[in-house]
């Protein structure tokens, strides 16, 4: 294991467990405990004395089982701590979703601004936190906030628009207005009745959520949050984890069938078809990542990206990153690929009939899968727990050592989470802007476009690794790949079929519209 930071969770837990076990060992009595009994049967029946019973030596006995005990306890503790970390760090995820979508829906155009950071809601500006800074250091921040609010702020002259813009007024004092919505939601789910449809297949109906939730949680056993912050890291962790990731569709199909409802049946079948179609490009893309990184173990993949002379995989495999993103969005069934649970047609799709805590947990499992997807993207392509430009910054002449000191204080988990949350914000951005693709179009896209592309990506990965890898990528290769990626993006961005646009032939030609841009309207003073 090449990379390391001070947050050595496994080490600490292992050390503390063995320390406590050692203490237990020392406290045990070292004398033998003689529980033997000698039976002298009559000479006619058996000639010798029979000695039955054990002789315990607690200390030695304990020493025999101590490694197993230590392993068991440390594994349990690590599981508990990592799972708790997972759940706590997942709390921002619904918060991001709600807030970001809210801001996207309020504002001009599909590009959002980062206004949410400074804008307040109904006068609640995250408690005007800058005033809490000592020595009045926060005053210029307050001034800047006021300025930004006046230009780009959230107050609208129309009361009803303000109403819509400024939802979720309540927060905890200064902290994050609207943060406790998630808790309130969960409490509500917990309080609802568990209803089983009358003719539902009860065994399968109950088993389906178990499959979905348990496999989703198990996936997190293999995701490292930091170099020493993981539950388990077997040699083939990437493959194993993707295999478990892919069991949940089975649970979805069970749920759809067992609810005895035509809607859920359709939803379950759509889901099964879609997830199958997108599992394969996903796995081939992951295979490409493993090929380029030279290992199936996730931690080694990250170490590969972090090591000297290497770049993050996203720069070497932009196509692979894009493929991973798209297939993952399809795997976690988010818009644009959320046909299986398309509210407009199927109410809630395959989980229509589930209520209460089962639904709450499955909802949480869906967000956990999203979170897992974000974390995996960060691990596979964004260098995991490395700070951006860490190598470059640390090798700067004078301030490099300062950077190194600062960066060593920040644990790797902080970068992981930052990248994962940022990526989730991208997921939310996509969700707010795009429409839902129809099922047969999803399947067509998956089989006809993504599968060949992922094969191409695998071929590129293999050729890069075999021909260009020379204990480091060098400078040329990453730059060339980035250039190719940008070129491809630009080419696809530009609309080619100008003729179709001109003569309005169909399909998929759009009217030439005047593109919206901020400031393309005039805020008239007469709006009262």
């Amino acid at each position: 294991m090449a990379s390391s930071d001070w947050l050595n969770l496994r080490g600490w837990i292992g050390d503390s467990v063995s320390w406590s076990m050692d203490n237990v060992h020392d406290l045990l009595p070292s004398e033998d405990v003689d529980l033997q009994a000698t039976i002298s049967p009559p000479p006619g029946i058996w000639p010798n004395d029979i000695v039955i019973g054990p002789i315990f030596n607690l200390k030695d006995g304990f020493a025999e089982i101590q490694p197993a005990l230590e392993g068991f306890f440390s594994a349990t503790l690590v599981c508990t701590v990592v799972f708790t970390t997972l759940m706590l760090t997942m709390l921002p995820i619904p918060y991001i979703e709600r807030k970001f979508i809210g801001r996207l829906m309020d504002r001009l155009g599909a590009t959002t601004t980062l206004r949410s950071l400074w804008v307040g809601e109904s006068g609640v500006t995250a408690g005007e936190w800058w005033n809490q800074l000592p020595f009045g250091m926060g005053a210029p921040i307050g001034w800047l906030n006021g300025l930004l609010n006046s230009i780009w702020g959230n107050d609208h002259s129309l009361e009803a628009v303000s109403r819509v813009n400024n939802r979720s007024y309540h927060g905890y004092w200064f902290l994050l207005p609207g943060f406790f919505q998630a808790f309130a939601d969960f409490t509500k789910f917990a309080g609802k009745e568990h209803i089983v449809p009358r003719n539902a297949d009860k065994a399968v109906y109950e088993v389906a959520p178990v499959i979905i939730i348990s496999t989703t949680v198990i996936v997190f056993a293999f995701i490292p949050f930091g170099p020493h912050y993981y539950i388990s890291s077997p040699e083939l962790s990437a493959i194993f984890m993707m295999a478990i990731f892919g069991v949940a569709p089975l649970g979805v199909f069970f749920a759809g069938w067992a609810s005895n409802n035509k809607y859920t049946l359709i939803g379950g079948m759509r889901s099964a078809a879609q997830l199958t179609a997108y599992e394969i490009p996903l796995l081939i893309t992951v295979l490409g990542v493993c090929v380029i990184s030279g290992s199936f173990n996730i931690i080694e993949i990250v170490d590969f990206q972090i090591s000297e002379g290497n770049v993050w995989n996203i720069f070497m495999m932009p196509l692979g990153a894009a493929l991973f993103l798209v297939t993952m969005i399809a795997e976690v069934e988010r818009i644009p690929f959320d046909m299986p649970e398309a509210e407009a047609e199927l109410v809630e799709g395959w989980w229509t009939e589930y209520g209460g805590l089962r639904w709450g947990f499955m909802f949480m499992a869906e967000y956990m899968r999203c979170y897992a997807a974000c974390l995996l993207f960060a691990l596979f392509f964004l260098g995991g727990w490395e700070a951006p430009f860490q190598g470059t910054m640390e090798s700067l002449p004078v301030i490099g050592s300062l950077f190194e000191m600062i960066l060593s204080i920040i644990p790797g988990i902080a970068w992981m989470l930052g990248k994962a949350w940022l990526l989730f914000a991208v997921f939310v951005w996509i969700r707010a802007s795009l429409h839902r693709v129809r099922t047969d179009q999803i399947l067509e896209f998956g089989w006809q476009w993504l599968l060949p592309l992922s094969m191409v990506n695998l071929a590129i990965a293999i050729s890069l690794r075999v021909f260009i890898w020379d204990d480091g990528w060098g400078i040329v290769a990453p730059l060339a790949m980035i250039l190719l990626g940008v070129l491809g993006f630009v080419i696809l961005l530009v609309d080619e079929d100008k003729e179709a646009l001109e003569s309005m032939k169909r399909p998929y030609s759009a009217h030439t519209v005047v593109k919206a841009s901020p400031g393309s309207h005039v805020d008239s003073e007469a709006v009262s």
Partner: protein
């Protein structure tokens, strides 16, 4: 898989109102449909037989709640035909402004509901935000946000408030810019084009035979508009063209119906702006309620044996009231009121349009026809 009937039942997020659409699916393909209406049949036609002519206006607002002004005006024109009333020109301009603003609000409601049907959630909030602007204007005119009871037999309830013209101009010019954002979100999204083009074809002659009119018909490439063919109010005084869409070869698809309504919003906005310029005695003069400039004296009794009807361009098509006079109350109440709802006729046609497409196209097609169940069931 065998064919099965699915009931997109009365409680369903797609249906834009309370009705059942039973579809027979073969896998994912729709092979047959059967609409089931009447869940909010309130018996308006029967109620109207024992209400005075002025009392019926409030019922007509509530026929299609999303487009209340167009329905109350549709009724008022029929009553004025029955009672043979001539309306002052200023009142007609004010009515036109109210009706066109309501048309914009109705189309915004439609677009805000159509986006989530296709999967885009952001457009709903954006459209409702603009609809708030229209409803503010309509509130200034009519007094409430949704059901205005605005026209009176022979004129209108109130004149344009002070400053209405400036506010309307500001809001409408802001709105005309905001429409571009909606177009950017829809027209530049390949997913939207893929979902709505090639889906739900309908040809104009077939549509006319089935009784479909309005924006759905104009999406087919014919510029028939009741405001142009049988002009009423002061539409002939304004310079406008009904927006027509160039359909695809097989007919009008969902994309065309969407585009027609977006263009209609623009046309309606420019009509309101032009009406504010051309209104007789200027938009800033104010007449008290009851002033003969905005309301004419009208008889309140209809003799027996008379009848009146008027075709009207509602947001969803051609609506019509037929009123037979001489009812109880010795002529103050009608004998029979018969309401023609465009959606009542279009929904069965739209259900037929769906056959052959996928289940996922059902909300796309149904939403593009803009159903409103209030007027369907009356």
């Amino acid at each position: 898989m065998a064919e099965m009937w699915i009931s997109m039942g009365p409680q369903h997020p797609m249906t834009h109102g309370l009705w059942t659409l039973k579809v027979k699916v073969d896998g994912e393909t729709v092979v047959d449909t059967e609409p089931d209406l009447g869940y909010i049949h309130r018996g308006v036609e029967k109620i109207c037989e024992s209400r005075d002519f002025t009392q019926i206006t409030t019922y007509c607002d509530r026929l299609c709640y999303a487009s209340a002004n167009t329905w109350s005006h549709s009724y008022i024109y029929a009553v004025e035909d029955l009672l043979d009333v001539e309306v002052p020109e200023r009142a007609e301009y004010i009515r036109l402004i109210a009706v066109e603003l309501q048309r914009i609000a109705s189309h915004l409601m439609w677009l805000g509901a159509y986006g989530p049907d296709i999967g885009n959630l952001s457009i709903m909030v954006w459209c409702l935000r603009e609809r708030e602007m229209m409803m503010d204007l309509l509130q200034e005119l009519g007094g409430s946000r949704m059901h205005y009871n605005f026209p009176r037999v022979g004129g209108v309830k109130r004149d344009l408030p002070h400053g209405f013209a400036q506010r309307a101009k500001a809001k409408l010019s802001l709105f005309l810019d905001r429409i571009q954002e909606y177009e950017a979100l829809f027209d530049e999204s390949t997913i939207f084009l893929v979902r709505t083009q090639g889906v739900g074809y309908s040809k104009p002659e077939e549509m006319v035979n089935h009784g479909v009119s309005g924006p759905n018909l104009r999406a087919g490439g014919v510029n028939y508009d009741v405001r142009r063919a049988h002009p009423y109010s002061v539409y002939s005084e304004l310079d406008w063209e009904p927006p027509v869409e160039r359909p695809s070869i097989k007919g009008a698809d969902c994309y065309d119906r969407y585009r027609v309504r977006v263009e209609e919003m623009r046309v309606s906005a420019s009509m309101v702006l032009e009406a504010l310029e051309k209104i007789p005695r200027g938009a800033d003069t104010y007449h008290e309620p009851g002033d003969p400039a905005i309301i004419a004296k009208a008889p309140s009794r209809a003799p027996e044996g008379t009848s009146g009807y008027h075709h009207f361009e509602d947001s969803r098509g051609e609506s019509m009231f037929y009123i037979a006079g001489g009812g109880e109350g010795r002529g103050k109440q009608p004998y029979r009121v018969s309401i023609r709802s465009p959606m009542f006729i279009t929904i069965p046609y739209a259900s037929e349009c769906m056959i052959g497409y996928k289940v996922a196209d059902i909300p796309a097609i149904m939403g593009s026809f803009d159903p409103c169940i209030g007027e369907t069931d009356r």
